[in-house]
Symmetry: C2
Subunit: 499 residues, 2 copies
Amino acid sequence: MTETTRRRFVAGALTTGAAAALPGAAEAKKRKTKAKARRHRTRTADVCVVGAGFAGLTAARDLVKAGKSVVVLEARSVVGGRVQNHELGGGKVSERGGTFVGPTQDHVLDLATELGVEKFDTYDTGDNVYIADGQRSTYSDTGPTGTAPLDPVVLPELALVVQQLDSMANSVPVDAPWNASSASDWDGQTLETWVKNNSASPKFRRLVPLATRPIFGAEPRELSLLFVLFYIAASGNETNPGTFERNFDTRNGGQMWRLVGGSQQIALRIAQQLGPRVVVKSPVRRIVQKGGRVTVTSDRYTVRCKRVIVATPPTMSGRIQYQPLLPALRDQLVQRMPNGSLMKVDAYYDKPFWRDQGLTGQAVSIDGLVSATFDDSPPDDGPGVIFGFVGGDSARTYQRMAPPDGRDTVLGEFASFFGEQARSPQAFFDTRWTTEQWSRGCPVGIAGPGTLLAYGDQMRQPVGAIHWAGTETSTYWNGYMDGAVRSGQRAAKEVLDEL
Amino acid sequence: MTETTRRRFVAGALTTGAAAALPGAAEAKKRKTKAKARRHRTRTADVCVVGAGFAGLTAARDLVKAGKSVVVLEARSVVGGRVQNHELGGGKVSERGGTFVGPTQDHVLDLATELGVEKFDTYDTGDNVYIADGQRSTYSDTGPTGTAPLDPVVLPELALVVQQLDSMANSVPVDAPWNASSASDWDGQTLETWVKNNSASPKFRRLVPLATRPIFGAEPRELSLLFVLFYIAASGNETNPGTFERNFDTRNGGQMWRLVGGSQQIALRIAQQLGPRVVVKSPVRRIVQKGGRVTVTSDRYTVRCKRVIVATPPTMSGRIQYQPLLPALRDQLVQRMPNGSLMKVDAYYDKPFWRDQGLTGQAVSIDGLVSATFDDSPPDDGPGVIFGFVGGDSARTYQRMAPPDGRDTVLGEFASFFGEQARSPQAFFDTRWTTEQWSRGCPVGIAGPGTLLAYGDQMRQPVGAIHWAGTETSTYWNGYMDGAVRSGQRAAKEVLDEL
């Protein structure tokens, strides 16, 4: 008997038995209630986790380890959230969402080790490509600056700005950025404003979206300076202060390693361990708190529990109905943390041909839709995969194009990076995260001016029996897989302290 | 036979008849479907309108006038949306939300006239009160500046800044603010940044929230400069360019008149005319478009129709499920148009005692929670009502206070404005719009930097058979009752052009 059949059987037996003993009108009413119960199968658990991304699965794993009963309700048909493999056939995969791990991301690295998921170096041998104003050049990231062969005017400016941002970020407490002594000033302006006021050359300013598009899926104008500084501060761990560079570096940065079997492996293995505790294709519609108990209603199951952990992006958490209503401050926060606009475009080739040309597969371009690329080929022999980030205004432009035009434009850009061979891949694939029903944006929830100052303290504040997880709630590596894992661990601990 | 009974009867008859003709498994399946239909009563109409605020009701009225069948689904138990009367007993009312009308708001004024709702002058005889740094002064708004008795340094600065903003707003097309020639610059910064760069004295800067709190429910840091300029440009009509001053003036401004019976009268009278077409207590959960038809599912009725007009604030429209999904750009817009944070605090007294002291009941204060007050007493003899606006950071502070402390603080401020008598009202009442389930903020959806530039053109863009109304979609008097009426008229016209 499968789990599903068994439950149906039990539910049916209960209904028949109970209804037989009841007379008249009360009987009819009860029968209706039971019929409803049969349709909405009910489970009971200590904790219900909403969302089977890295945060939710980590929380569930920790809770189960501690002996608690858990049900994880996932809207998608698969686990992993914003971390999804793309099957290339023959057991080979590339990644559609979160891909890389790097130094100081200890929580996701430890988890990978525990689960037996090995890491390997991102392909990084050779030169990178830099494109500006139609001019192509190559450079080595092993040089003293590790940056593109920029205009001699721009280079010192870049170094200075990054140094200034890091230094400002240094004064931002990752657990309460709104308490930074300059918080009011920094949350009153956009990153664009700050860059304008702290840089001399328009040439340099054109570089800034190269960072914000892949990192936030946003333009500098959409981001509060305080939020960016918090994000930089969070790009480290308790012993290594965050730096901006770690966000965009491969060597010693956030893109240093990949995971064997694709990053989604971590989610798949946790889900395997959790077994039937994970219910997919079951979006949560309503969370009702009453008399110290919680009822979570999803499309497939209703879960009665003592605590619930909502492990979705903030903006998605606002689409659930809550009874009682979310407190005003929490709801207002949720209205002000949109997900970024980021697409991933992938091209698949017979072989990673760029390697033969002495290229890493990494390119940076200020000209077109694709602002950065990486070699995302499977580790062993096999197809070559280039993926590119299309973010912020470029993502908006891409979305407004007819798909074949978008594809042609992207492949034309790939050709300008890696040669004509890149124009004719075996396959082309894009992941438009803004169209994904259960994410509606990527890579992370972002904050414009004023949000952190007014509502930041609501991010992790439990609401009765509801606790919040998700990478956006993390103090370190916010927006990354490591932040998601950290948040799941923190939320599980909060719940365990209470149960 | 009541309408409800009749429908139940018809639904029952259909079920029995249809099911009898069907054999075996198919029969059982059909029976289930019919049983479902019985629970979810179904209506058919040309157009379904979501939301019975001023926008939705106006749209429905125009459609019915043109001979179309309409069902209006309203989540609240009452119509009016963000415009709600507060009953004082004896047929007297004050207002909890939208209150005033003024010159150039022709659409709501014409509608009031058609419905027989008369207007009367906001009480404006005598002096206004101004509070700064614990100092109280009074002033007349009939003087040359019409503004508070400010520091001689601040006064010219205020005049200059307002003039500059009006002049910049003059170049913003109200139907496409993102096309202004400086749109990119203006949408890249906050109002706070612009004020910092265009004013000399910190004293002056403290005045700016006095405008943004009541008008937007927000601090200058939360607002895109471009959005503010659009809002100013929209504060007029096709023949009278918008001005900033119209937003905060009583004489010749947006607060000039009130409506007999309270502003909600307009909604109540339209609803009366629409009769059973308006269904209250029926929040819309899902909108499904399939084969050129639309199915709108709410808690009480399922409506099958040809077109739907969603007349809610953008942020609330994002909490409905859509099949097919909303386009990515529309969804991203909705994630980026939070409702402002505005509370209205009301105190009720035997009489409008301040009038005997030669005061208008209008006060402006930079010191406390309440930034502005008005006399909201019923027009004839009777109780005196003072209402105050608590917005932006003050609204956040007020929400974090225990209710009795909030009340005491507000009444203490009222006493500092109008004398000790104000401290002891017959009753005190606040409307916390951020806690209202079906508004979650007030007075209007606001835009931080980058939103209009990237997504502004999605605001009125129909999505298949779905059209958008609501004051946020209006080109003139956006955020006001007049804008709501205009938006309803525009959406009805769009639909009529198609049917």
